[in-house]
C-alpha cells in the first residue's frame, strides 16, 4: 500500500504493528491491571526503580519485547533498523531518554499509547510536550547541518 505523496511510507505495516502494540497493552491492562509502559518496566526490571510492577512481571515483559521483535524479524515481517548519527550522539540520546522518561514518569508507550487512550490529562500534556520537543530537536539538527538530505 502506498500513500500519495509519501512513496516511502508504510501505512499498512504501521497500522498492523500498531494494532499489535495496542493489543499487548490491552492484555497488560485487562490481564494484570497495569500500564504497559516500557520505561517504567525497564527501570523496575533492572532494579533502578523499587516501586511499580512486581519484578518478575517487569522482567518477563522486558525479556519478551526483544524476543518478539526477533521473531517478527525472523518471520521476515520486521524492518531493518538504520541507526542515525555517531556513537557519541547515541550515548547523549540514551542518557536524555533514560533521565527524561524517569523524571516525566513515562515514554511513548506509557504516556502515548496507554495515557492518550485513557484521556489522561497528564499523559496528553506529556505526549504533546515530548512530540513538540522531538520535532524542535530534529528541526534544529537540520538547521545546524546535522541532518542532510
Amino acid at each position: 500500500m502506498m500513500l500519495p505523496g509519501f512513496p516511502d511510507a508504510m501505512p499498512a505495516a504501521g497500522l498492523a504493528g500498531g494494532l499489535l502494540i495496542g493489543l499487548a497493552a490491552a492484555i497488560m491492562l485487562l490481564g494484570l491491571g497495569r500500564i504497559a509502559g516500557v520505561s517504567g518496566m525497564l527501570a523496575r526490571a533492572s532494579g533502578i526503580a523499587d516501586t511499580g510492577a512486581p519484578r518478575v512481571i517487569a522482567l518477563a515483559f522486558v525479556i519478551g519485547l526483544p524476543l518478539g521483535a526477533l521473531l517478527a524479524t525472523l518471520a521476515s515481517s520486521g524492518v531493518e533498523p538504520r541507526f542515525t548519527g555517531s556513537i557519541p550522539q547515541l550515548v547523549i540520546a540514551g542518557l536524555l531518554v533514560g533521565f527524561g522518561t524517569r523524571l516525566g514518569s513515562g515514554c511513548t508507550s506509557g504516556h502515548g499509547v496507554c495515557g492518550l487512550s485513557r484521556f489522561s490529562r497528564r499523559s496528553m500534556v506529556a505526549t504533546l510536550t515530548f512530540m513538540t520537543s522531538g520535532f524542535a530537536t530534529v528541526g534544529l539538527m537540520r538547521a545546524f547541518g546535522f541532518i542532510n538530505g
Binding site: A26, G31, A69, Q89, A93, G98, F99, G100
Partner: protein, 136 residues
C-alpha cells in the same frame, strides 16, 4: 506462574508490533520527527493502530472489578501537571530526536542490531540511574 506468562506474552506482542510497524527503525522514526525535511507519516499510523484496541480496553476496564489474573488494578493518577512532568518530557523529546529511539524500540533493537542498540540502552540505563541518584 500465570501472571509472568501473561506479561511475557504482552512483551512478545509489543516487540513484534514495534518490528512490524517500522518503529524499530531509528531512521524512520527520526523522519517522522523531521517536519522540515523528508517527513514520513509512519508514526501517526502506528499510534492510530495502537490507540484502537487500547481505547476499547479502557472502556472494558471500567466495567471490571479487578484484572483477570491479579488482585487489583494498579494504575497511575491522571490529573497532576507539574514541572517534573514537563521537564522530563522535554528532555526525553530531545533524546528521541537525536537518536530516533524511545525505550520500546531500543529494547526491540537489542535483539536485531545489538551493538548499536546496546550502546543506547546502556546509556539509557545510566540516565535512569542518574535520575534515581539526583532524586535523593
Amino acid at each position: 506462574m500465570k501472571a509472568p506468562a501473561i506479561s511475557l506474552l504482552a512483551g512478545l506482542l509489543f516487540g513484534a508490533g514495534l518490528a512490524v510497524s517500522g518503529m524499530a527503525d531509528p531512521a524512520r522514526v527520526r523522519a517522522f520527527l523531521d517536519l522540515f525535511g523528508a517527513w514520513d507519516p509512519m508514526l501517526a499510523f502506528v499510534m492510530a493502530g495502537a490507540l484502537m484496541p487500547m481505547t476499547i480496553a479502557w472502556l472494558v476496564q471500567q466495567r471490571m472489578p479487578r484484572p483477570i489474573a491479579c488482585e487489583a488494578f494498579d494504575l497511575p493518577g491522571t490529573g497532576l501537571l507539574d514541572a517534573k512532568l514537563l521537564l522530563g518530557a522535554i528532555l526525553f523529546g530531545i533524546g528521541w530526536g537525536i537518536g530516533g529511539l524511545c525505550p520500546g524500540p531500543a529494547l526491540a533493537d537489542l535483539a536485531i542490531a545489538p551493538s548499536e542498540a546496546g550502546i543506547f540502552v546502556v546509556a539509557m540505563l545510566a540516565g535512569m540511574t542518574a535520575h534515581r541518584i539526583t532524586r535523593g
